[in-house]
Symmetry: C2
Subunit: 491 residues, 2 copies
């Protein structure tokens, strides 16, 4: 399996609208007022510096989008600042209900800043993804500098904010950014809520197998035994076996109701790839209530999936028939889909190109499978092969250890005021910060939480662990705000 | 007066050999062993990434020079890492005797890393200074990233250093870099000795007049009264008056023994400029013993200068005659100079071009004169005019507030393990960190110290205040090393 696709799962849960990539970024349009189906905010654009760290083309700017809600803000109150990740910021805005839920209680302003090269913040408009010459400014360091300069701009232009403590929020890659933002720009934000942020996922830092092992455990839990993952483990070779003949491929196409027939063996391989993404995505969004974060899904979707995978003795087409029923929970829960398109990413909200470039440059995170502790076929991580693919695709050289040099790797104990929350169901939690010897770096573990469940709006079906986590977040935010106001203004 | 020249005084005391700019950077030559007149070290070259923060030209590298002495190193002992500033690293190596003095006591390795675009670390060889396209990668952020990746390289290649705590050292701009390095890369260095680091000198942060007021006070102290600075204050207009005629210009040329005659009024203006630099440089190197840091100078050079400026009633050529005697202390203390070249920077060690570019891009530090509290003519700081000049000279846009966005401005209290030392005679101390509400950010004030006197090798004539400061440095370094070894290895 092509590992970059697997790595891409990081975005699956956080990605933006793919269509946006084709849209031209507005040239500093006037602010607009937008009332979304969920939340109300105003949209602004900031003339952002393209390259903060060089002066080769020092004048070049682009329009960075950010969203503001100040319904509950009082001057000097906190500003909750979402460090946008790899997708349309409006989507994150609508899926980070926790910030909206607590705004009134804190008299807080909400700001959602879009990450460069995603959504509508495209430095070169429709040419932004043309080649490395255009795309090369897409790095996490540039994004963090965008946030720092944007905050300074906000402080200078929005009355009352000069004396406001800013607090960073983010989930997934956005959580990594929130944490790094506090580490690198502690003068900009007083603290950070970094949800499901796998900052320890870089090469040679951790066991590359954790991700798939955790996912597999979710299916054990969901099905109540080893049966469900054991059956899934059998499907890979069963599909490859059946798909080995033309007759078999036609049969698979019919069973899965594929939009396009499986023409050759490569298409069979793509079917497995698609299924792999489905399992991973299910693990990330295994929420305790119906949600439409990636797809429309029932509560506890893995449990629903595993209800179809109970006959461990099943083989061949019998096994595949069960598999099809299981996959339909993900693919066609509402019953509206007419056929399954395996060439579309397993979620329609995927902003894949940008993250693929980031993974190919500075965000390479090794994942692997042993086929024993996980329900996949064995797959060894091969950095050299990965880098070769990146070179071919983008013309860039992957910097294997750069992220660790830049962000400190495990050596983060000099940082302060960061909450690292992780969910026990989330495949990424194994690469999160789960322990700390520094009292102001606070790991929060949400036993029965999936991917940044804590950042979602509260729900009557929320488990107590996520309710507790959100209370811990609020306690920490209050502490940071107090610190900010108590700090001697010595200058 | 052109302010960029005044700002350039920052480098006067720290600059490298200008001739080096014309030399081609070696292409990763083999290491060489060098026994300098003062200290012995080995020279290494690291294939450094040109652009850490973009992937436009991600393969491009250059040879970064660094010097190592491991005479006293034992595996796991500390590594003292000098964050090179704007000049030839060998020169800093030889003028940072404090590191050499304490190496044995700490079993420390010494490393001096050259700053990109200075000395022999020229990314484009002799074309490095050609234009902004070549020079644009000269930024402090790139330099810090160079140091972080170099340290990771060292840890991987030099046995024993993987478990060594690294401590940053730097003076002047190098001190700013040392402090910022600890702030931005606390995983790379356990602490920083930042000597005479004016990190609070950026626009709108402080009174732009402090620099010249402090310099003027040095001349008050040196001469024992207001007489010396009062006489200097009179010289500016006296020179302009005399230089207003051809006869006067010839007379001035003879009195100062100028190498080239003063042809027009602009040359008279340049004479004043030269003198201005002399006074500033004298204030920076007003050391209590004879030294040849910038020029060969006697002990307490300002005192020597002011011995010639005692007749407050003097005017016209009488005043200028005294002035010439005074200036000779700086220019011709050894009696070897045949004529005075005012078109040469006031120190022969100046690496002016690079710093001029840095001041024009991200390091703009406003200085001004009121002519009352200082001994200069009134000069208002005009950012717009400054930026226009920069645009004309380099084709770049000066980013007025960027350094504050990037490094936090006054909001540095989240940092830790930094000693900020400043000398009461140093014109820059007004822009240094002199107070702190954080016990691990330690301001050290050296009442009778000039520009980073504490980093120089010990001398029998050292005042007690600098001896105390060095002991404080050592206490802090010991504390940081203990912290490093006591830290729970929780991963």
């Amino acid at each position: 399996m092509k590992n970059s696709l697997l790595i891409l799962t990081l975005i699956c849960m956080v990605a933006g609208v793919r269509a946006a990539f084709g849209r031209r970024a507005p040239q500093f349009p006037k602010q607009s007022h937008h009332i979304d189906s969920l939340y109300s905010y105003k949209t602004y654009w900031y003339p952002q510096t393209l390259d903060h760290f060089n002066f080769i083309s020092s004048d070049r700017q682009f329009a960075q989008r950010y969203l503001i809600n100040d319904d509950h803000y009082t001057a000097g109150g906190p500003v909750f600042f979402y460090t946008g990740n790899e997708g349309d910021i409006a989507w994150f805005c609508n899926n980070t209900g926790f910030m909206w839920d607590i705004a009134e209680e804190f008299n807080a302003m909400l700001i959602f800043a879009e990450h460069r090269y995603y959504g509508e913040s495209l430095p070169f408009g429709k040419d932004s993804y043309k080649d490395a010459l255009h795309l090369g400014y897409l790095t996490s360091e540039q994004a963090l500098a965008d946030y720092a300069t944007l905050i300074d701009h906000i402080k200078k232009t929005i009355p009352g904010t000069m004396k406001s403590p800013f607090v960073a929020f983010g989930g997934s890659y956005g959580g990594m950014l929130a944490a790094w933002f506090r580490m690198k720009y502690p003068g900009s934000v007083q603290g950070a809520i970094a949800a499901s942020a796998p900052i320890l996922a870089f090469p040679d830092m951790n066991d590359c197998e954790l991700f798939y092992r955790i996912t597999t455990n979710d299916f054990k839990k969901g099905g109540g035994s080893d049966v469900c993952p054991n059956m899934i483990r059998k499907t890979w070779n069963t599909i490859l076996d059946i798909g080995n003949t033309e007759v078999g491929r036609i049969q698979l196409g019919k069973m899965f109701k594929l939009c396009k027939p499986l023409v050759g063996f490569n298409d069979v391989y793509m079917l497995n790839n698609y299924l792999s993404e489905v399992w991973v995505n299910l693990a990330m969004v295994d929420y305790p209530y119906p949600a439409s974060f990636l797809e429309n899904l029932p509560a506890h979707p893995i449990k629903e999936v595993c209800k179809h995978l109970t006959n461990e003795a099943a083989t061949g087409v019998t096994l595949i028939a069960s598999l099809v029923d299981a996959v339909n929970v993900y693919f066609n829960y509402t019953g509206e889909s007419k056929c399954l398109n395996i060439y579309r990413q397993a979620t329609g909200n995927l902003g894949d190109q940008g993250w693929d470039f980031q993974a190919c440059t500075e965000m390479a995170m090794p994942l692997c499978q042993d086929g024993v502790q996980d329900m996949w076929l064995p797959y060894k991580y091969d950095f050299e092969a990965f880098a070769t693919g990146c070179k071919q695709q983008w013309g860039v050289t992957t910097r294997k250890y750069w992220a660790q040099s830049e962000y400190g790797g495990f050596n983060i104990s000099a940082a302060s005021n960061i909450v690292f929350s992780n969910g026990g169901l989330d495949p990424w939690y194994g690469y999160g910060v789960l322990k700390s010897d520094n009292p102001s770096i606070v790991p929060v573990f949400i036993e029965d939480g999936a991917h940044h469940l804590d950042l979602r709006t509260s729900n009557p079906l929320d488990p107590q662990t996520v309710i507790n986590a959100r209370n811990t977040h609020k306690d920490n935010i209050r502490k940071w705000i107090d610190q900010y106001h108590k700090a001697n203004q010595i200058w």
